[in-house]
């Protein structure tokens, strides 16, 4: 949480020290390229060119390419869980499910690249990194599972199988990212409403 000082620098330089901006730019470039071409198809030279430095300079900020991928995925999932915790309030199951439905769609549509990487690059994680990411992903799924279970137990929802309903709803909501376009037919809010209508009926509420 240091105060950033580069704005105060009186000289613009084309080379030299840029520690406070190269790091974020590296992560942004990698996220964009990994999402478009895939982790395995992107070279460190390509990322470096996007950042505007030589490839060797990247290793001042990351241990290796794998560490860069892991960092991007973990940050995304940490953000997701933190954002939900900030959003969730003590609610009855029906309101909680509507809140989750709209939150999930909204959060995912705001970060298409991070979402794409989180779903597509799991197989490129080394085993120990994969275990960390899987754990975070399951923790998030549990949020929805808990809502559905509470609603089923209190008789508000009618569900043949809580676990399958969890997977079905998450898949349905996340699927929005595969077809949504900013210039599309429907606004995000309209999409949220339509999906909530379908989710509500699917869980028998």
């Amino acid at each position: 949480m240091n105060v950033r000082s580069y704005n105060l620098c009186p000289m613009a330089r084309t080379s030299g020290s840029h520690s406070d901006i190269t790091g974020p730019r590296l992560r942004a470039a990698a996220q964009r390229l990994f999402a478009r071409q895939g982790y395995a198809a992107v070279s460190m030279r390509q990322i470096a060119a996007e950042v505007g430095v030589q490839a060797g300079a990247l290793y001042n900020y990351i241990p290796d390419k794998q560490g860069l991928l892991f960092d991007l995925m973990k940050s995304h999932l940490d953000d997701l869980i933190a954002a939900w915790q900030a959003e969730a309030k003590g609610q009855n199951p029906l309101d909680a499910l509507e809140c989750f439905t709209r939150f999930h769609i909204r959060f995912h549509l705001e970060r298409p690249d991070a979402v794409f990487i989180a779903y597509m690059e799991l197989r490129n994680l080394e085993p120990e990194n994969f275990a960390v990411i899987e754990d975070l992903r399951k923790r998030y799924e549990t949020v929805l599972e808990d809502i559905l279970r509470a609603g089923k137990e209190s008789g508000v929802f009618s569900l043949p199988d809580t676990k399958l309903a969890t997977m079905a709803v998450i898949a349905m909501l996340t699927g929005v990212t595969t077809w949504y376009r900013d210039d599309g037919r429907l606004s995000r809010d309209r999409i949220e409403r339509i999906y909530w209508n379908m989710v509500r009926k699917a869980v028998g509420a």
Copy 2:
């Protein structure tokens, strides 16, 4: 549709002519490896080792690596569309939707590797190949969209938006492939039933 003759060959050979088995083995090995590691992360030498030949020999069967990927994806989608056409009968929308739901789950669970590749490797297709695959994918989506539209128009389904319902149902059903395990808690038939229960309610039937 030639009669296969290698079963009649009296001699087992470790090298030489194997045109009638190397082709299928190549496709099978590539499908397995692409699904597990991703197209970009798999080398032709790795595929060749799995097949039991040297890398150069593969080029007797494929024009290049891209052609191999395209062939796998196109075959999968051709199979999918052909299988649905064999399955579909003249039915009312409700029966047709149940038929589609169960068909989609069953077909996808039987071919996990092909499904994985079809969804994950789209970005590794060259533009002209991508266009072909996208067209086939959309043709299959239209099957469901037509069922939902017919049901909505005849008043059997209650849908806020036919196009979004199409995407939502496909995403929900395809999602089964991400968590299904052969030794899991539920049989495939039980899963089909549970999903049909949720789909039926989601479309307001």
